[in-house]
Amino acid sequence: MANMAQAIRMALHYGEEKLGITDIFGEDVGPPLGGVFTVTQGLGKSWNSPLDERGIIGAAMGLALAGDRCVAEVQFCDYIYNTIDMLKLAGMQSWSSNGDWNLPMTVMTPVGSGIRGSIYHSHSFDATMTHIPGWKIVMPSTPLDAYGLMIACLKDPNPTMFLKPKALLRMRGLEPIPGEPPLTPEGEKQLREMIDAPLGNRAEWKARWPEGLTDYTVELGKGKVVREGSQLTLVSYGRTLPVCAQAADLLREEGVSAEVIDLRTLWPYDWKLISESIRKTGRVVFVNEDTEVTNFGEHLIRRTIDEHFYELQARPRLLAGAFTPGIGLADPLEMASVPQLNHILDLSREVVREAA
């Protein structure tokens, strides 16, 4: 019963053992800390870098250009903004060289709210990242998907951005990751003892990795229907996805049938899945927690209108974060800044009630 942090860690371990990953690096990524969210504890290829986000992205690019294969971490996405032109450069290496070069590299960074991270530890990055062509961008909502998406990223010959929803990193999965101990309290304890670094002195500690880890891969560009429904489509990813699923369960008790799609890959995204669902329900809400102006969901609404205008039963809607410079620390401020369960329920009811 791995949590998402453990799932990513196991995928990275599989990558360094089986997929030729040469470097896993960033600020505090190596021992003793193993990442501020413990995602890189115990990994053989992990190392600490200078506190230099531009250097981290540049180093990742250079490693990829040299033919090595790395995973670089920026500790919080709030600090990735000063690397924007490096991300742009990475995304254009293949295109600008007319296909001569490619950049097999993965960048991962924690995103979003949910840990009361205040102004500079709560940003989202999906709206900005989806503006940068040449990358493949993923954001999981379950540990199993986190594992499978990371494996897919590590195999891809292009730059991949793995957005880690920090609010879900401690969430345990209900679906087994092939190779992990049984999904029981005992299995959970066993996994913890095997791969979580102990508190205190870690100098002698080494992870004992599950032996049966596999090549389980979630194909990039493929979403997933997590609740089937007929009256409304909710499209989400990351932290807000399980909240949408919970909303769908509550709406069902009210007699409203909502379909929930976990996009999983933000770019290139699974338009076929979204499109088929909209055709079926005629009503759609896109939910994410990045700020609402020039939000990725706005692009999806534009495409919905372009391609499904005459099939819609109600206005397509976006539920996203407030367009504020940051997220205030006080609980009421954070709760009002990014979508919560009540917001999703209220908007879903409104869309379902809207006259065709």
């Binding site: 540049g58 250079g62 293949s94 001569d100 292009n158």
Partner: protein, 350 residues
Amino acid sequence: MKAELRERLGAQSQSGRAAAVHLAFRLRPEQLIRIHDLAVKARVLEERLIRMYKQSDGYFWIGGPGEEAFNIPLGLQIKKGQGKDYDILHLHYRSAAIMTVLGMEPVEALRQMKNVAADPFSGGRNFANHFSRREWNVVPISSTIETQYLTAIGSAIAQRRHGGEGITIVNGGDAGTAEGDFASCLVWASRPGAELPLLIIVTNNSWGISTPFATQHGEKNISDRGKAFGMRTATINGNDVEESWFALEEAMRYVRRERKPFLLEARVSRLYGHSSASGANFTPNEQDPIVEFEKKLETAGILTRERMDQLRETYNQEMLELSRKVKEEPLPSPSTIYDHIYQGQKGRYW
């Protein structure tokens, strides 16, 4: 250069003036003739690119005329090839002379200037002198100032691990060293116990577009910044062929063998201004390194004025003819705009 001409020039160098040659130069006559040939070829290429721009056969020019005395010796000492056993090059847009040494055909640079479909570096997508060639480890050159000093970190890490004699070489101008990326490069290159086999080059032409270096920088030498990191450094006259050659030889030997960084600053000229944005006109008050080199070659009896003029004219004619040919070549098809956003991908994918 025509093989026949090269042969004749080589023969002349063996014609009894060896004593004078040895007094004037440390390099062998055939090396000097080769360097001169490449320098003239690179210069004529740049001047042809400028003419193409001025004749509306290109939208923009930026390049490196004035840096030949440094860049030709650099190119000749590069370990050329693909992969970590060879030098990995993170160049900037004043590197046509280096590419000329590596074997770039002039027509390739002309095609990029004209943005034709056959532009081998970017398929008509990028500015002139923005090269890319995987089989020579030339990573895509970007217009962004100084980001190459960041990507160089990564390939140097890979080469440190790999071992052998391949090193990473990065070059850029003086103005860009004000960017934090230059400081990043110094920090990452000198991490204790993880020093990188990285030759960090700054070609200092004393200008940042229209702004004199001296009005913005207090440091006497840019290379002095490396000393704070325990790095070997040097500042040299990059307008002198032999000073450049031997400084590069020493720096490269150190980086290849010791697997540690070296910061080399070469003072060079900028003979046609920053770019076409400032007119791309010849700047007579800057020292022309080829003129200086030719004076010495003539004095030493290695080449005559007539031979050197003949060489330049030969290249002028060759490149004029090539540019006429390139003007007739087709532009890229609009249908290709989405190609290669991802590896191997053709057309719109979403």
